[in-house]
Symmetry: C2
Subunit: 162 residues, 2 copies
């Protein structure tokens, strides 16, 4: 990320295509896995080791949507919550590559793979962005690809347009 003036938020201009923005670490507790599952995804393999043992999961694993939500929190903490983000229209791909289990410590990165200024809204930039989470065994557990919208710091100049 570029150097910024003190107290200014990350804007479209600050994100460099190809740069990996670090995320985490984030430790996943048994309690939060079960709490999320009880509210949103009460399948056996998200509720207890015992119930998960006879399934493909082989024990207690985090809901896939919990995994996505944890990544979201890591993005917010790393850069999004201190930015001119305007949300996202959707997700192009989610891959739950390995189970996330109690005690796993996740880190990862977000990488803007392309960026452009909106033609219809020249104060708004559009990213293509890829995210990756890795566990403590250096296994990739989750990848997400999506578009995102980010405000420009200086819409008039279009200095950073591609």
């Amino acid at each position: 990320m570029r150097d910024r003036k003190t107290n200014s938020k990350f804007a479209y201009e600050d994100f460099i295509v190809g740069e990996k923005i670090p995320l985490g670490p984030y430790e996943v507790s048994r309690e939060e896995i079960i709490e999320f599952a009880e509210e949103f995804d009460p399948q056996p393999f998200h509720l207890s080791e015992e119930e998960g043992r006879d399934t493909l999961a082989g024990g207690l694993i985090a809901s896939g949507w919990h995994s996505c939500s944890i990544l979201m929190r890591m993005m917010c903490d790393a850069y999004l919550n201190n930015s001119l983000s305007q949300g996202a229209p959707g997700i192009d791909e989610v891959k739950w590559l390995k189970p996330i289990r109690p005690g796993d410590v996740l880190k990862g990165n977000s990488t803007v793979t392309a960026k452009r200024i909106s033609r219809s809204r020249p104060e708004l930039g559009i990213f293509e962005i890829r995210h990756e989470l890795i566990n403590q065994h250096d296994e990739i557990v989750l990848t997400i690809v999506n578009s995102g919208m980010m405000g420009l710091r200086n819409p008039a100049t279009k200095a950073e347009a591609e």
Copy 2:
């Protein structure tokens, strides 16, 4: 869905390609929008009406991941929690088409668009499935497309293989 013996769980054989399985209704409260956002997605437009007013959201809207998690809960309640589901490897597409706001009442459906028995694991079926959520104004707010894995009731016969 096919008629089943009492107490038997929904299995691969019960899902009919093209049949819409109803979901909901589910009323989304202001409290749960904010609670989810505080834990996983603390962006201004997910935390309060005031903070959201000056953004594209135009007020308080549910986190996109919260929307996905609500759909998951509706799927669990409608059929997944009483089935031989073995989870999903990922998501092919998420579209957040309209914001979900406090008080919205969601309903929807899941439709299996294709199904086949796994070659490597003949006790397991693989679905292509599409989900849709609609609000009280009959606007489509969310669509998701993914693959899912579902156990067969009678793996030996392969009676329902396509």
